[in-house]
């Protein structure tokens, strides 16, 4: 006989303000199998956890339901507490009555009833839960670091110095990233390359680090401790072992007028090149798009001059396979380019440049050797206008966030300009100064007070060229909001920091989630800021959000600790999260096809309709019976009573995937958006696991409408579960319609973790639609019909 303990949390007033927690606790005590039911102000606090622990021991509990916040928040907390009290942690479940109830519904009886329903559901689930043991997974003690910028370099060195192997993959010909392009760094104004290049060399020489520059991740399969990476080493056009890096080829290359990526387009480079003199590795690549030989079939000058005969024109991309235990994603960021600011003439006037271009102008290794000269005519600019927040914090441009680094680097730019052009007049247009950080505010003050940088609080409406000068039209909001026109020689835009162009594609290869701006999402913004939702994949640096150097470095070092913990053990422990019912397990799962040829595998046809579990599922663990399926029947009886109420309040069941829609619904709660309380959320690992039969079960159990929602295409945590689900839905809808079931009763949707508003809208719209369709009595009547 089950002895379940139910612990209802007030969450201060977060829950108790809208849910009658005392009543929920009292009602929960009457649920069959519940041996103990209490409420408490802060269940996650020490005394709260102690309540749980004491009850487990005193009441001899066989299961625990904590009705509080989302399991994505505190499930680990309470499971740990249960384990400490001697209860198997997997016999503890969270009833999400905060994000999915108290925060999204108005105060009232319906909300309290819903909280009670959620508790009931989880009690039913816990009763069926089995004690599970963590799964031991042998660990490959090698880390894969993607991205060779400062964050990747730091992560690689930290892990390598701890005695583990590292594979560092950088897509550019050299590591170094954006930091290698910088002139000086704030707030100390020390030389960026001086602090970076020694670390680059250290990477190249470290015995534990294998560097693949000019390479990209092709695919990643497997799971924590046991990833298999395929890395594409793009053809450099030369034999790296033979090349000494003498540079003769670069000197002789006849195609020399190619805009240099390293100099942000301000300098030129030949077709065979290293991005910059201190490049690591110091081996050139042939730019096949511009190389005369590849374009015309003639030239091969580099081949002739190469003293070691290292040039290989016919070289092809090479795929390297590697087994790794963990992955650090440090792919960095980009800044907004192109015709994003037509009003500022960016991309039209040569003398309207972005921050990175200014870095190259100010850099001693840059195209002007550190002299500030404007691109159009090489003159030293007398007046320079810096425009902060070019794109950032601008919803009209689609970028609501603050790019964080611009206030500081703009102050630095203005300062550097004054240091180099003493009579120059720098202006900075800004919205606010955000200089939170050690010595940051002081740094900005110095720019204003010591270096005479004119700070103008206001936005620039337009930059246009007149008589060879740039007219900056803006407004000074502090001096009576007067329109202001400044004639400048150079305009520097602190354009918004954005995710890399390939960020989305890479996220899909890695099965990590990302936000609306394609920045990678952390497992928890506060408590697990360096991990992704996919175990064994960590984040570092600005691929997560714009970050400055100290922050990137600090985070990279943190990552090392996260990595070393599992890596130092012979095996890592994985939560035995049930993802597939045991009977579906067969050799078929590994191949996506069923075993051949005789005897027949079990339930092969069921797998055809609920297809083979994706083999690449990173979180796949050994099988356990599906808990959601088991908890279904006990869920329904309470509904029928509610259904009998005079006003028709449709009962809606939402089957959602854990990774996207459940998190999206959490966000709805966190954002305090309201929606109809008639919906009950059932969490699944993936839409690919939502058997069509569950939908019928829900109808039979009293549901009037159903929502099925998961990750958008390409975003599936298991790579293709939603694609498979989508096909089944098409077929299922066809069948439902043919059987005379109104397909409008089932709403399919994609709601990502970032779409809290969409979730609320989806629930409200579906509720309205089902209300119009009325109760699904035709179906509910079938229950019990046909028994003699």
């Amino acid at each position: 006989m089950a002895r379940i303990g139910v612990f209802i949390c007030h969450c201060g007033e977060n829950i108790s303000a809208t849910v009658d927690v005392v009543k929920v606790a009292a009602e929960a005590a009457r649920i069959p199998g519940v041996a103990h039911s209490v409420e408490y102000k802060y269940m996650c606090s020490d005394p709260g956890q102690q309540l749980v622990k004491n009850a487990i021991k005193e009441k001899n509990l066989t299961g625990v339901v904590v009705a509080a916040c989302s399991p994505r928040m505190h499930e680990p907390t309470f499971r740990r507490a249960c384990a400490e009290a001697g209860l198997n942690p997997f016999l503890c479940e969270m009833a999400n009555i905060r994000e999915h109830c108290s925060w999204v519904h108005e105060k009232g009886e319906a909300t309290t009833q819903k909280a009670l329903d959620i508790v009931r559901t989880l009690v039913a689930k816990v009763k069926k839960n089995k004690a599970l043991e963590p799964i031991k997974v042998p660990v490959t003690k090698t880390a894969l670091v993607l991205g060779g910028g400062i964050a990747g370099i730091q992560a690689a060195l930290d892990i390598a110095n701890s005695g583990h192997k590292v594979i560092l993959v950088e897509q550019a010909p050299s590591i170094g990233g954006h930091m290698s392009q910088l002139s000086e760094t704030f707030p100390t104004l020390d030389c960026s390359q001086c602090i970076l290049t020694p670390r680059m060399v250290e990477v190249a020489q470290h015995p534990n680090i294998t560097l693949h520059s000019y390479s990209e991740l092709e695919s990643l399969d497997g799971f924590i401790g046991n990833f298999k990476a395929r890395i594409r080493r793009k053809a450099r056009g030369l034999d790296e072992k033979l090349c000494t890096g003498c540079g003769l080829c670069m000197q002789k290359c006849p195609t020399r007028k190619i805009p240099s990526e390293f100099d942000a387009g301000l300098g030129l480079r030949p077709a065979i090149y290293v991005p910059f003199p201190q490049a690591v590795p110091n081996k050139p690549v042939i730019d096949r798009e511009h190389c005369t030989y590849y374009r015309t079939g003639k030239c091969r000058l580099c081949e002739k001059v190469c003293p070691t005969q290292a040039i290989r024109f016919g070289q092809e991309d090479e795929i390297v396979e590697a087994e790794v235990g963990a992955v650090v994603v440090a792919t960095g960021f980009d800044i907004k380019h192109g015709d994003f600011f037509p009003e500022y003439g960016y991309g039209k006037h040569q003398d309207v440049i972005d921050g990175l271009q200014f870095e190259r102008l100010a850099s001693a290794s840059g195209p002007t050797l550190g002299e500030i000269r404007r691109p159009s005519d090489g003159k030293v600019p007398e007046t320079v206008v810096f425009i902060a927040c070019a794109g950032s914090r601008d919803p009209a441009k689609g970028i609501e966030y603050c790019s964080k680094i611009c206030c500081m680097y703009t102050a630095k730019h203005a300062m550097l300009y004054r240091h180099k052009v003493h009579h120059g007049k720098p202006y900075v247009f800004y919205m606010d100064i955000r200089a939170g950080g050690k010595m940051y505010e002081e740094f900005v003050r110095r720019a204003m007070e010591e270096d005479g940088v004119q700070y103008v609080r206001g936005r620039v409406s337009r930059v246009y060229e007149r008589n060879g000068r740039l007219v900056v039209k803006g407004v000074d909001t502090l001096l009576g909001a007067r329109p202001l026109e400044i004639e400048a020689d150079l305009v520097v835009l602190a354009t918004a920091g954005v995710a890399n162009a390939g960020a989305e594609e890479l996220a899909q290869k890695l099965h990590v989630s990302y936000d609306a701006h394609k920045f990678y999402a952390e497992a928890h913004p506060k408590l697990r800021p360096v991990e992704t939702n996919t175990a064994g994949i960590f984040l570092a640096g600005a691929c997560q959000a714009p970050k400055d150097i100290p922050e990137s470095v600090a985070q990279s070092t943190a990552r090392r600790r996260r990595f070393i913990l599992p890596a130092s053990a012979a095996s890592s422990a994985r939560a035995p999260a049930p993802t597939r019912p045991s009977r579906r397990r067969s050799s078929a799962a590994a191949t996506g096809r069923w075993s051949r040829p005789w005897p027949r595998s079990t339930r092969a046809c069921a797998r055809a309709a609920a297809p083979a579990w994706p083999s690449a599922a990173p979180n796949r663990s050994t099988s356990r019976a599906s808990p959601t399926r088991r908890s279904m029947p006990r869920f329904w009886p309470c509904w029928n009573e509610v259904n009998a109420m005079a006003d028709f309040n449709p009962k809606i069941v939402a089957f959602v995937c854990n990774w996207c829609t459940y998190a999206g619904a959490d966000l709805t709660g966190t954002s305090r958006m309201k929606y109809a309380p008639q919906v009950s959320i059932v969490r699944f690992p993936c839409t690919g696991r939502i058997d069509f039969m569950l939908l019928l079960k829900a109808f039979a159990g009293g549901a009037d409408g159903i929502i099925v929602s998961g990750c958008h295409p390409n975003d599936c945590h298991y790579s293709s579960g939603n694609f498979h689900a989508r096909r089944r839905w098409v077929v299922f809808r066809g069948l439902m319609d043919f059987l005379g079931i109104d397909v409008r009763r089932v709403q399919f949707s994609w709601v990502s973790a970032a779409e809290g508003a969409k979730w609320a809208q989806l629930v409200n719209e579906t509720t309205d639609r089902i209300r119009r369709l009325g109760p699904f009595a035709d179906y509910q009547r079938l229950r019990g019909q046909g028994v003699g």
Binding site: R30, I31, P32, G33, P633, R783, G784, G786, V787, G788
Partner: protein
């Protein structure tokens, strides 16, 4: 019965309609062969006009009147953790007249009762049986699947019927009132009947030839039990569905299921592979050939031995329903003639 005189009368079609009305008036429901879509099966009727006696046999047997496809044995609703046990209200079972069942189907009632009341009486079954009156109709036609005569029955046999009607042509039925229940069913309806005046049903009955010697079947089966090759050969085309068992008037295998606080008894079939699957995973009858053997053995060996009644009445329904044309008559012939 012995002390009773043979009670034979005549009843016309219109009078039959009045009899139906009387039964309904007495609170009985009437189940009779009724055309629905392309099938004739037992269903509730109110007038003889709805009854279809054209086919040799109904698709399904009338056993559902005593042993429904799914029936509730008792229920155990729970509330606030307390479970209440509710017996089935046997008094609420509606008195039923099964009209138009063939003599073979009527004979099958004895086989069903023998199983349900074998070691202990099944209360629900017995209550249904007590409330049941059977008004049989003798066969004036038969088909190639019929073999009642080989099993001791016949197209005009009265066993199991409370009243047996024989269509004498011209809208007139010869009615033999066989049992006390039959007498009660026509109580107060004496004016609806006319004297039989020595009319004899025999000329109206179908000719069902004897196909094999029943006495040989049981010993032959027992001798063949271990002859695997024989059974494999016999059942090669059998696909192991439950159609034969579900249309059979005597098959009584059932499964027990608990569902939403109700204990349900539902039909099952020994032809299914899972029928004998043990919890351990062992299956004593893993092959279809063994299950086919079981089907014949049970009907022609075990039941005569244990319940002193044959488990088959020769209605031929299983042969008609079989998707792969397994013909039980052929198989019995083969058994009777086999030389092990």
């Amino acid at each position: 019965m012995n002390s009773m005189e043979k009670d034979t009368r005549l009843i016309g079609r219109e009078a039959l309609a009045k009899l139906f009305a009387q039964w309904l008036g007495e609170g009985r429901r009437i189940l009779a062969p009724k055309q629905s879509n392309d099938k004739v099966d037992f269903a509730e009727v109110e007038t003889p006009g709805e009854v279809s006696l054209d086919p040799v046999q109904t698709g399904q047997s009338p056993k559902g009147a005593l042993f429904p496809r799914v029936e509730e044995l008792f229920s155990f609703p729970s509330r606030d953790g307390r479970v209440e046990l509710r017996e089935r209200d046997l008094a609420a079972l509606k008195p039923t007249v099964v009209f138009g069942l063939r003599p073979c189907d009527a004979a099958a009632l004895a086989a069903l009762a023998a199983i349900f009341n074998w070691d202990s009486a099944d209360a629900l079954f017995s209550a249904r049986l007590a409330a049941l009156t059977t008004v049989g109709v003798a066969c004036n036609r038969c088909d190639e699947y019929c073999f009642c005569t080989s099993l001791g029955g016949g197209p005009g046999a009265t066993t199991g019927s409370d009243i047996l009607l024989t269509d004498m042509g011209g809208g007139e039925y010869l009615a033999e009132v066989i049992s006390e229940k039959g007498r009660q069913a026509i109580q107060g309806a004496g004016t609806l009947f006319q004297p039989a005046l020595g009319k004899d049903k025999e000329s109206r009955l179908a000719r069902v030839e004897k196909a094999f010697d029943l006495d040989k079947v049981k010993p032959a089966l027992e001798a063949l039990f271990d002859d695997e090759a024989f059974w494999v050969e016999q059942s090669l085309r059998c696909l192991g569905c439950g159609a034969c068992a579900y249309v059979c008037p005597t098959c009584a295998c059932f499964d027990i299921q608990d569902e939403n606080g109700r204990r349900l008894r539902c039909w099952d079939s020994c032809g299914f592979g899972l029928f004998t699957l043990h919890t351990s995973g062992h299956n004593p009858r893993p092959l279809q050939s063994q299950r086919w053997r079981q089907r014949l053995m049970h009907k022609f060996s075990y039941m005569p031995e244990r319940q002193s009644v044959l488990g088959c009445v020769g209605c031929g329904r299983c042969s008609r329903a079989c998707p792969v044309d397994m013909n039980i008559l052929e198989h019995l012939r083969a058994v009777a003639e086999a030389k092990p």
